[in-house]
Amino acid sequence: MAFRTGKTGSDNETGKALRSRSLTRDAMRRLMKNRGAVAGGIILLLLIFAAVFANFVAPYSSTEGDILNNYAAPTADHPFGCDFMGRDVLSRLIYGARISLAAGFVGAITAFVIGVTFGLVSGFFGGKTDNFMMRIVDIMYGFPTLLLIILLMVFFKSSFSVSGVAGGGLRGALSDLDRSMGGMFFIFLGIGLTSWLGMARLVRGMTLSVRNTEYVESARAIGTSRIRILFRHILPNVLGPAIVAQALQIPGFIQYEAFLSFIGLGVNPPTPSWGMMLSQGYLAMRSHFHLVLWPAVAISITLFAFNFLGDGVRDAFDPRQTR
């Protein structure tokens, strides 16, 4: 005890053990200090609330309008005005939050599942399998994503909806599913199929490094099966950073949906999507600027909040980085 000096020692001697601070708690503390990130988080919570409870929050229907009110300017009844069909803009914005957030989250999850599976298999099996799978990723990186996603959407929309009418088999089922979701299903699929590459590379790299750790080696030594090692030892260690990395991609997915709906390849009308509202408002912009303004503000605030929160989370978990 003679060498023990300083506060820590005396604290221990008086019996008051220091509360240990885990990495996560430390990161949370840093995150809470970041005003931008907290503001972003609050905005997102409000948005999620509005999206989930849109039926109660929105004053009017999102799809049915009063044709006498078409292009109505903002009034007390319709604070953001009405669109070309007399539908309340505020209500459509609130329902539109559902579409944007769904595209962001479900798109992220779809891409995540594909990317994590691909990266995990590639890194875990290694050797020729790994080499082959990573070459596939390299090749896919040569694809212009925006062009591919447009082509995919046209492919989905026209090849599935045509046969869906006949109502047969998998194609019919998929297209019914898509129609019941207002065109969202194919957006999720399109985003998922084009945006998993970075995740696959990241997970593969982490899998390789975890695979060579001592605890995996000892697990192997006591005869643990490969499947068990994969799911019990490797996956949990890979998951955390992968989730953070994927969360940072969400704004990008929201933008994909908005753009696809903007050019008419996204949601089916009358589903209210901010991108579609922008494109419809854009046509009438000269005389009715509010039809462009509010969807533009809504999508910008959402992305702003996501970016601020994402930045904060990344900084909080990686204190070495200077922001």
Partner: protein
């Protein structure tokens, strides 16, 4: 180093081949033909048209014909625009897209990087915080929201620039600004972060200790090293900007390749779809190649792995 570059260049061949095959297959599996009209053509005419464009050949033969043409850089005739070849169309549209992308890239580099340096030098001042919030806004506003907004302010209200379409240098400003904002902001953020990292290195301390003036330390010693990460994202950013011009061309009704691409998909104009995808893929592949080579030059460890 030489063999590394040769290997990387050879690697682009399978990439282009496979990208074109996937596009070809996907494109031909979309139902509908270039001759689908509201009023159906008489079967005989449809047959003849399909024969003319070899659309009744087996798919593999069409593919081989197509790739043979591609090797000779002859993309064949456009189907939707009867009298024009795809080469004509590319020759006409590509300069538009390239100009738009080039100007946007210049904006991003010439405004973004100095902004980042300024923020880093004035760290935690009003200038720094202000420009970083602005940069965050820039990253967050999508082109489809920013474009109409800029048109409304600068074209409809202030009447400084034309509303849309293409022709004079004034037509370039708003679309290029719309296209570059996100990348400009990204450049500013990365430059700033990289500057702040470099400033903590010991050779900066040494330079200060020598009594060099602050501006010399910042520009000659810090800035030059801080540029390394910035240059490595510049390649992909260029490819992204050129691809992203597709979005901006839609908003501003600019007759570039991107607008044509979307139209051609609607028209099932197979040769144009293929040529555009290949052109963009080529840009991406070349940019990735440049990045890899610059990495290898900057970091000798990568060369041999």
């Amino acid at each position: 180093m030489f063999s590394f570059i040769v290997r990387r260049i050879l690697w682009t061949i399978p990439v282009i081949l496979i990208v074109s095959s996937i596009t070809f297959l996907l494109m031909h599996s979309v139902p509908g033909s270039p001759f689908t009209r509201e009023r159906a053509l008489p079967p005989a005419i449809q047959k003849n048209l399909e024969a003319k464009y070899h659309l009744n050949d087996p798919l593999w033969k069409q593919y081989i014909d197509y790739m043979y043409g591609f090797v000779r850089l002859d993309f064949g005739p456009s189907i939707a625009y009867r009298s024009r070849t795809v080469n004509d169309i590319l020759a006409q549209q590509w300069p538009v897209t390239a100009t738009l992308g080039g100007v946007a890239f210049l904006f991003a580099v010439c405004i973004g990087i100095p902004l980042g340096v300024l923020s880093a030098v004035k760290q935690n001042t009003l200038i720094d915080n202000g420009s970083m919030v602005a940069a965050m806004l820039g990253v967050s506003i999508p082109a489809i929201a920013l474009g109409p907004f800029l048109i409304w302010i600068f074209a409809l209200k202030l009447k400084w620039f034309p509303v849309a379409t293409w022709g004079s240098p004034a037509h370039v400003v708003l679309p290029a600004l719309t296209l570059s904002t996100a990348y400009l902001s990204r450049f500013a953020r990365i430059t700033r972060a990289s500057m702040l990292q470099v400033v903590r290195e010991e050779y900066i301390l040494a330079a200060r200790a020598k009594g060099l003036r602050e501006i010399v330390v910042n520009l000659r010693h810090a800035f030059r090293n801080a540029l390394i990460p910035v240059t490595t994202i510049a390649g992909p950013a260029f490819a992204d900007i050129v691809t992203g011009s597709l979005v901006v061309e839609q908003i501003f009704a600019i007759p570039g390749i991107g607008k044509y691409y979307v139209q051609s998909i609607g028209n099932r104009d197979y040769p144009v779809i293929m040529a555009t995808t290949l052109l963009f893929a080529l840009i991406i592949v070349v940019m990735n190649l440049l990045v890899d080579i610059s990495y290898a030059m900057l970091d000798p460890r990568i060369r041999y792995s």
